[in-house]
């Protein structure tokens, strides 16, 4: 790697870790209902909202009650997105006159955005009206993220409380997360992004004449005059003389898409599109936004349980796994594609080119920023992309799939990443307890059979749906015909799709044609259970923990803030992830890597 590449990566980590601490402490204050500045300004709005909707903010909810409120809210949110897509042709703010979306695609997209997955079977600029993007998709970007954060906060309360019936009030947690955390951050980020060139307008798409007119090769291009009288169909319809540029209120949606680990692009190419991510600076900020809240929440956790070291320990575990896998990805992509070297393509890095495997990558980002983004977006369950993952080298692509399969706990989604990681913490202390022959404890709570059963559910749900879904898809014709790349890579495309859906990531090996009834429905079911099955198990753990007494720390208690415990936690995550998924990965990326290496060994 070049010195500049290292510098850019170092800068990213420094900015992330510096910003995470103050934001984490601030979020703790918000969720603990301290009178932070924004809360004092918006207090009337908040109390007015509660009065209007009949919410009693001081009322504590048991875990089942909390879950019921969450599910009703998410159900109506999903229905609203579904209805908007089915009716958008009749609604305003549709300058390109987009038609209504097909029913299976609308269902898939509604589930996808409500579950914080933002899997996209459609292309944004060719499918969705401005209205659907704004009041359907953008809104779910906010509230699905706030939902994940609420579940995390409820789980943290499980550790905080003793002999308690309740784990908080879902409506208050939802409102706090949206109003005081996501909305102000998004507003600031959106404006900075517009300054860099991200579009934010309600104008219709703009058509411009192309600079190069006339002859292309042996074909004759129509002139603008011919085009304007409609004569172009008789000439060469594939060679246009104008270019139509998709526009829209993109910046406001992109800001929350990055901050809320949503990832659903305004345009089809997501953050590879120059109007969605125009400059290296916009790229840096959007990448920072992917991991910012998930990293900060570790500090929120440490602050709320009264021991910041516990937050640091988890953040260290996440950062170590992330950094190691990042260097594998950068190395694989910088190495380039041996099949192209054989054709006489210059792929080595130099002062005047980034070199490497540039298929599906943008020049302004080069290798380092593409690989960094790809690793961050799959470590977190963000799923936005600034390069096309399908065209990565086999090893680069394998890291992405595996990071998702680890359970989206290396930073993970906002809220969901940390509650998933806390489940792995429970398993780690349980394993340690077995080794030393003591009842496992974490933060003063005894970890018993119920918690471990629920933790097993959290781990088994995605494993079952990733492996089972992939197996089903490769057995039925509808699953196989969607594959775009032949051989082992085609299998990787399917494995990626089900991993992405179960982990609520949303990125894809996008060559797979997923806008079909089979994939729309199979992946929607996977997303639903991957999201709400896990949320229910986590809330059950929270309820059970809150009801327990707190046991005092003794010399026999396993300390959970030490480097030893960090290593134990990393080991637990990696071993579970490896044992479950290495056989499947061997059939896809590993085979592809070996065949690529074997073909070009002699050259």
């Amino acid at each position: 790697m070049t010195a500049n590449g290292l510098l850019q990566i170092a800068l990213y980590f420094v900015a992330l870790l510096l910003l995470a601490k103050p934001l984490g402490v601030y979020m703790a204050a918000v969720y603990e209902n301290h009178p932070v500045f924004l809360k004092r300004i918006l207090a009337t709005l908040e109390t007015g909202l509660y009065r209007l909707s009949g919410v009693k903010p001081e009322q504590d909810m048991g875990w089942k009650d909390y879950a019921a409120a969450l599910l009703w809210f998410n159900l109506f949110g999903g229905l609203a997105v579904f209805a908007l897509q089915m009716l958008q042709a009749y609604l305003p703010l549709n300058p390109q006159q987009m038609g209504n979306v097909t029913i299976d695609s609308a269902f898939n997209t509604a589930v996808s955005f409500a579950t914080n997955t933002n899997w996209q079977g459609y292309g944004g600029e060719t499918t969705m009206s401005y209205l659907t993007q704004m009041i359907g998709l953008s809104v779910q970007n906010f509230v699905s993220a706030a939902t994940g954060m609420a579940v995390l906060v409820a789980m943290i309360r499980g550790f905080q409380r003793t002999h308690a019936d309740g784990i908080g009030n879902f409506w208050v947690d939802l409102t706090s997360g949206t109003l005081y955390i996501l909305l102000p951050l998004s507003f600031v980020l959106a404006l900075v992004l517009v300054g860099q060139g991200v579009v934010q307008t309600f104008k219709p798409y703009q058509t411009v004449p192309l600079v190069e007119q006339g002859r292309v090769g042996n074909a004759v291009l129509p002139t603008i005059d011919e085009l304007s009288v409609g004569g172009h169909e008789k000439h060469v319809p594939t060679l246009p003389s104008t270019q139509t540029l998709a526009l829209g209120p993109a910046a406001s949606q992109i800001a929350i898409k990055q901050l809320g680990t949503n990832g659903g692009g305004f345009f089809n190419a997501n953050s590879a599109h120059p109007f969605e991510n125009p400059t290296p600076l916009s790229n840096f900020l959007e990448m920072l936004a992917i991991l910012l809240i998930p990293a900060a929440l570790c500090h929120t956790f440490g602050t709320m349980v009264g021991d910041p070291r516990q937050g640091w320990a988890i953040l260290s575990a996440m950062t170590l796994v992330f950094a190691s896998l990042l260097f594998v990805t950068v190395g694989a992509e910088q190495g380039g594609n041996p099949a192209l070297t054989a054709l006489g393509v210059e792929q080595s890095v130099g002062v005047d080119q980034s070199g490497g495997n540039m298929e599906g990558k943008e020049t302004r980002f080069g290798i380092v920023n593409s690989a960094l983004w790809a690793t961050a977006t799959t470590a977190a369950s963000n799923g936005s992309v600034n390069s096309m993952h399908d065209s990565y080298t086999p090893l680069g692509g394998m890291i992405q799939i595996w990071l998702i399969q680890l359970g989206e706990v290396i930073f993970g989604g906002v809220g969901s990443g940390l509650y998933g990681m806390l489940v792995f913490v429970l398993i780690a202390v349980f394993v340690a307890g077995l080794m030393i022959g003591r009842t496992p404890e974490y933060l003063g709570k005894k970890i018993e059979a119920f918690e471990i059963k629920m933790a097993a559910v959290v781990i088994l749900i995605p494993a079952f749906f990733i492996l089972g879904g992939t197996a089903l898809a490769v057995m039925v014709e509808a699953g196989k015909t969607a594959v775009a790349n032949p051989g082992a890579h085609g299998f990787s495309e399917i494995l990626y799709a089900f991993s992405s859906a179960a982990g609520n990531n949303g990125s894809a090996f996008a060559g797979l044609s997923v806008n079909s009834s089979f994939y729309n429905i199979a992946l929607a079911i996977t997303m639903l259970i991957g999201r709400y099955g896990i949320i229910l198990a986590v809330l059950a753990i929270a309820g059970s923990l809150a009801a327990k007494k707190t046991v005092p720390t003794t010399v026999g208690t396993l300390p959970t803030h030490t480097p030893l415990f960090v290593m134990l936690l990393i080991g637990t995550v990696l071993i579970v992830g490896a044992l479950t998924f290495v056989p499947a990965l061997a059939l896809g990326p590993v085979v592809e890597h070996l065949s690529l290496a074997a073909q070009h060994l002699e050259q």
Binding site: V139, V194, V211, A246, P249, L343, V351, K361, H489
Partner: protein
């Protein structure tokens, strides 16, 4: 359990208005005041006669223009209304054939040139709209463009240098050349 239905609907309505209407309108309002050009697409030229967006590449095929990244958008390349990459995997034979064809096109347009081709010039970008090529890819084409325009390579190189952007703040991203701006400058249409 059903006591949550009313708050669920009313809360959703409230957040739809706040984050779905008030928020994007507020961002649009501020953006149109502070950054009107960027917010509307960073178009070059005048409002009445835009020359294209400086952020969106266009297709160039003739020898007297610098060529940009191959674009995989459909039905035509550089389709500003339907972005996307090729999504071809590294072992896909279609990718290998496409790269072969692109190398051949470059060599045919400038037979005197037989060096290895910079990778970004023969691989499709992620968006299909990449406005940039690497400085190496621009250098590779200077000879051809100079010959086709009956200009000296030095004067073409001078223009390339002028439209080469370094890393942002000298650190971020990669050095690059804006193909549309460079070609407009060659046509002397850029002030």
């Amino acid at each position: 359990m059903t006591n949550h239905i009313k708050p669920a609907i009313l809360m959703l309505l409230f957040f739809t208005v706040l984050t779905g209407i008030v928020y994007p309108l507020a961002v649009t309002f501020c953006a149109q005041i502070v950054f009107p050009s960027q917010a509307n697409g960073s178009f070059l030229g005048s409002n009445e006669q835009p020359l294209g967006s400086e952020l969106i590449g266009q297709a160039f095929n003739r020898p007297e223009y610098f060529w940009g990244r191959p674009s995989a958008t459909s039905p035509v390349s550089y389709n500003g209304g339907a972005s996307g990459g090729s999504n071809q995997g590294p072992t896909n034979p279609v990718l290998i054939d496409s790269v072969k064809a692109r190398i051949k096109a470059l060599r045919d347009a400038d037979p005197s040139h037989s060096e290895a081709v910079p990778v970004d010039l023969v691989t499709a970008s992620a968006s299909g709209l990449d406005p940039h090529i690497s400085p190496a890819a621009a250098s590779y084409q200077i000879n051809r463009v100079a010959k086709a325009r009956h200009m000296s390579t030095d004067s073409v190189r001078e223009l390339v240098d002028r439209y080469t952007e370094s890393r942002q703040w000298r650190i971020l991203g990669e050095p690059r050349v804006n193909v549309l701006k460079l070609n407009l400058a060659l046509d002397q249409r850029l002030k």
